[in-house]
Structures are given as structure tokens and as C-alpha cells.
């Protein structure tokens, strides 16, 4: 090989870069997201009524869209009521509707968001629920 030293040096850098995901995972625990929905508010409800605004599958995939549409409806258009696919009416509010049941932000929201490394900008404006503040104070 001509200039083999330089080419092999370049190839070593190439291999080091493309195998980074593998080498970065060495020694790191294999984790899975495990969001909890066992808050006191939810457990208080009878089993049949433990339902979110929309179906679980819908919420899992579309909650970010729903929340941003709620924000636009409330803040920009002044509409505060949401009628779901069952015809039930909800108050469009992250803190008063969503967080009423899902009061465990760190175990519910953050669990998946941290797992897939998403940083929603909800909390740029909203105040984070108390459970987190307490935790930070304890630390």
C-alpha cells in the first residue's frame, strides 16, 4: 500500500467513529422506560373509570400534538374546552387536567422523555409539580 500508514490511521478513526454506539454502551446498564400510572388520584378512581382523555394508544403517540394544540387553543384562541372522541368534555389544561391524575412527573413524563432524550418545553412556562421541588430540596 502506498502511504499505508496514513490510510490505516484514517481507517482506524473511521472504525472508532462508526462503532461509537457500541463502545459507548459498554459498562452502561441496559435500561427500559417504565412509566408509572399508580398515583393516588388514579388509584382512587374505580377500575372502569381509569381512562385518559383519549385512548392509551392515541395518547402514547399523539400527546405532544394534543398538548401543543391545547396551548394554541387556550392561549391564542381563548377556547378552553376539549371534547374527546367519546363526547366527554375536558378543561384544556396541562396543570389542572393532565397533572391532576398524573401528578408523578418524574415517574410518568420524565421516564420516557429521558429515555428517548426528548426535552419538552412545557416547563419553560409551567411550574413543575411539587414532587420534584421537594426532591431537589432534599438533595
Amino acid at each position: 500500500m502506498y502511504d499505508g500508514g496514513k490510510i490505516i490511521f484514517g481507517l482506524i478513526i473511521f472504525i472508532a467513529l462508526v462503532t461509537l454506539p457500541f463502545t459507548l454502551s459498554i459498562g452502561k446498564e441496559y435500561i427500559k422506560a417504565n412509566p408509572k400510572i399508580d398515583t393516588p388520584e388514579i388509584m382512587k378512581l374505580p377500575e372502569a373509570e381509569r381512562k385518559c382523555v383519549e385512548s392509551k394508544d392515541f395518547m402514547r403517540k399523539e400527546h405532544m400534538k394534543m398538548l401543543i394544540e391545547w396551548r394554541d387553543a387556550v392561549v391564542r384562541d381563548g377556547k378552553t374546552l376539549y371534547v374527546n372522541s367519546q363526547g366527554k368534555t375536558f378543561n384544556m389544561s396541562l396543570q389542572n387536567t393532565c397533572m391532576q391524575c398524573h401528578s408523578n412527573k418524574s415517574k410518568f413524563c420524565d421516564e420516557c422523555h429521558n429515555y428517548v432524550k426528548v426535552k419538552p418545553y412545557c416547563w419553560d412556562c409551567h411550574i413543575e409539580p411539587k414532587e420534584n421541588i421537594k426532591k431537589e430540596a432534599a438533595l
Binding site: 403517540k61 400534538k65 426528548v118
Partner: protein, 332 residues
């Protein structure tokens, strides 16, 4: 002809992935086997191609340059475009790799009203650089799926890409690169179709990567803004690949598998295609060799010791015959 073949190939691949997952249900094949196979082909093929290129000798320096070479003191040398030192070469390579400097010099000749005009043409450079940097940012952003704890560099890239915070369609944020790569790709495809001269020299292997990447971008954009997917399940799948503990989570639709399959094809196709310019740019002889022809002696690597025959030896052999024929000889 070329464009049809490439388009049909990519559509066929999409159909294959759709049938394989949605109809036959071979999700494990598309989620585990193909990505691993593609990655191995990519790495080994890449190394093979680079070593093959490394074996080809470059006999002499090729000073196809765009600047004054090192000369008498009163001529100012252009140290980047016509370097005579390793540092100059390093700088020239840096600008070539990161800013596509030689493409920036692209010119275009046109006949307007019977007269020939030659001028600078930057559109190809703009399309190319927009495409490459968008692709790089998108590639880096995806590392959040392939690392257990995303490095902070990746998070910074991601937050810069989404800093507009535009609420569009189904997403609270809009990635700038989603728009720029689509615009750049459509331009790069459009120039091949609309310019008759470029269309004439375009081959299926020119169109295929364009359609393939367009397919990857389209499926990605569809998943982000239109038909949502369960991102947590997808990360379980991708992390499983990284940890060599492959899992095939339920509830991931065909759209994702089409995306993943097209990416696998891109990786596997890479070493056999023009996409190898990713490695090849570093081996460009007109860019990576210092123009020091007049300072150092360069020996042609395929030169071998040539058998010489001196006149004295010749005369020794034929002296008698030469004398008989009356030819003068040096030694009696």
C-alpha cells in the same frame, strides 16, 4: 431509462419492506438481521475499498491547482491552493472536506444571443453543502436512539436544529434540517431531470441514491409530523441492537420498518457505489499531495531496474564483424 430503473428499484424495496412486515410479519428479519448485515457490509466494504485504492500507485505529484506555486521570492505563493508543505495540504484538505472548495469553483458556459459566456455557478455547491450538512445533522440527531445516555454534543446539535420551536402539523417543534434536506435533494434531483446535458450523462447509479435517500427522508418526516409512532418502543429496538440483545417490540408500524430497511440498504449499498466519495475525498491525488516537484525527488513506484547495454559491450561483441565491414571502431 436510468431514472425509471432507479425509481422502480426504490419503490420495489419499499414494497418489499411493507409486504415483509405488514403482510408476512417477518419483523425480526427487518428489525435485526438486515440492520446487522448492512452494518457489517458497510464497515468491511468501506475498509476493502479504501485499501484497494491505497494499493494504486500515484507516480508523481499532480499539481492541478488554482494558485501560484512556490517560486522565486517575488512571486507570492498561494499556500492553500498550491501548497508545498504538509500543513498547506492539511489546510487544503480541510477546506475541501468541510466547505467543498473545489465545487465552489464550479463554472458554467452558456451561449446567450449568439455569444459564449462563462461564469461562476454556485447553485450546485449550495445544493450539495445544504444536503451534506443537513444529512450530517440528521445522522447525529439519530444517535439519541443508539446511545444509552445521549452525549451532550448530540443534544446541542438537536436543540440548535429545533430552536425555532415552530409548532407545525403534528409536532411541537420543527427541525430546520427536515426542510433544508428536502429542498436540497429536490434540487439535486431536479437538475439531473431538467438539464438535458446532465440528464444525458446520468446513470441509474446517479438516481438510485437520490431516490433512496428521498425515501428515507420522506418516511422519517411522515413518522415525525403525520403518522406518529411509538418512539419508546423504537428506542427499545435500537438499543437492543447496540447491546447485542435484539428485541422486536410490538406496536411498531410498517412505516418504521420501511424507514429502517431503506437505511439498511443505504449502508449495504454504500461501499459499492459513488457514495464512497465519503472516503475517497481523502485520497484525491490532486488535493492531498503537496506540490513539491521541484524540491524533492519523486520516484515512480512502478519503476524497475532497466537492463542497459553500453556501446562498449556492443563493440566487444561485434568488433571483428565491424572491422570487416569497414565500420570505424573505438578500440582496436
Amino acid at each position: 431509462m436510468g431514472i425509471g430503473l432507479a425509481l422502480i428499484s426504490v419503490l420495489g424495496l419499499i414494497l418489499f419492506a411493507y409486504l415483509g412486515t405488514a403482510v408476512i410479519g417477518l419483523n425480526a428479519l427487518f428489525a435485526v438481521v438486515f440492520p446487522y448485515a448492512a452494518f457489517i457490509i458497510f464497515v468491511l466494504g468501506f475498509i476493502y475499498r479504501m485499501v484497494q485504492w491505497g494499493k494504486s500507485p500515484v507516480p508523481y505529484r499532480i499539481p492541478t491547482t488554482a494558485g501560484q506555486h512556490y517560486s522565486s521570492l517575488w512571486f507570492k505563493q498561494n499556500k492553500i491552493d498550491n501548497p508545498s508543505t504538509a500543513w498547506g495540504v492539511a489546510l487544503r484538505m480541510f477546506f475541501e472536506v468541510f466547505t467543498f472548495r473545489s465545487l465552489f469553483r464550479n463554472t458554467k458556459a452558456e451561449i446567450l444571443q449568439g455569444r459564449l459566456y462563462v461564469g461562476s455557478s454556485k447553485w450546485l455547491w449550495l445544493g450539495a453543502i445544504a444536503f451534506h450538512y443537513s444529512f450530517l445533522v440528521i445522522f447525529l440527531r439519530h444517535m439519541r436512539f443508539f446511545t444509552p445516555e445521549t452525549p451532550w454534543v448530540i443534544s446541542i446539535v438537536e436543540s440548535l436544529d429545533s430552536f425555532l420551536q415552530v409548532h407545525i402539523l403534528g409536532s411541537p417543534i420543527l427541525y430546520i434540517t427536515n426542510l433544508s434536506i428536502l429542498a436540497a435533494l429536490l434540487y439535486l434531483l431536479g437538475r439531473r431531470i431538467l438539464d438535458p446535458k446532465i440528464k444525458y450523462i446520468s446513470l441509474p447509479s446517479d438516481y438510485f441514491p437520490l431516490f433512496l435517500i428521498l425515501g428515507i427522508i420522506t418516511t422519517g418526516v411522515l413518522m415525525r409530523y403525520f403518522f406518529k409512532v411509538d418512539v419508546t418502543a423504537i428506542k427499545e429496538l435500537t438499543l437492543g441492537l447496540v447491546y447485542f440483545k435484539p428485541v422486536v417490540p410490538k406496536g411498531i408500524g410498517s412505516l418504521f420498518y420501511i424507514h429502517l430497511f431503506l437505511v439498511s440498504i443505504l449502508f449495504a449499498y454504500f461501499p459499492f457505489s459513488k457514495l464512497m466519495h465519503m472516503g475517497g475525498v481523502f485520497l484525491s491525488p490532486t488535493r492531498n499531495l503537496a506540490n513539491n516537484n521541484r524540491m524533492e525527488r519523486h520516484v515512480n513506484p512502478w519503476e524497475y531496474p532497466v537492463k542497459h547495454r553500453h556501446y562498449e559491450e556492443y563493440e566487444d561483441e561485434f568488433r571483428e564483424k565491424m572491422k570487416k565491414a569497414g565500420i570505424p571502431v573505438e578500440k582496436e
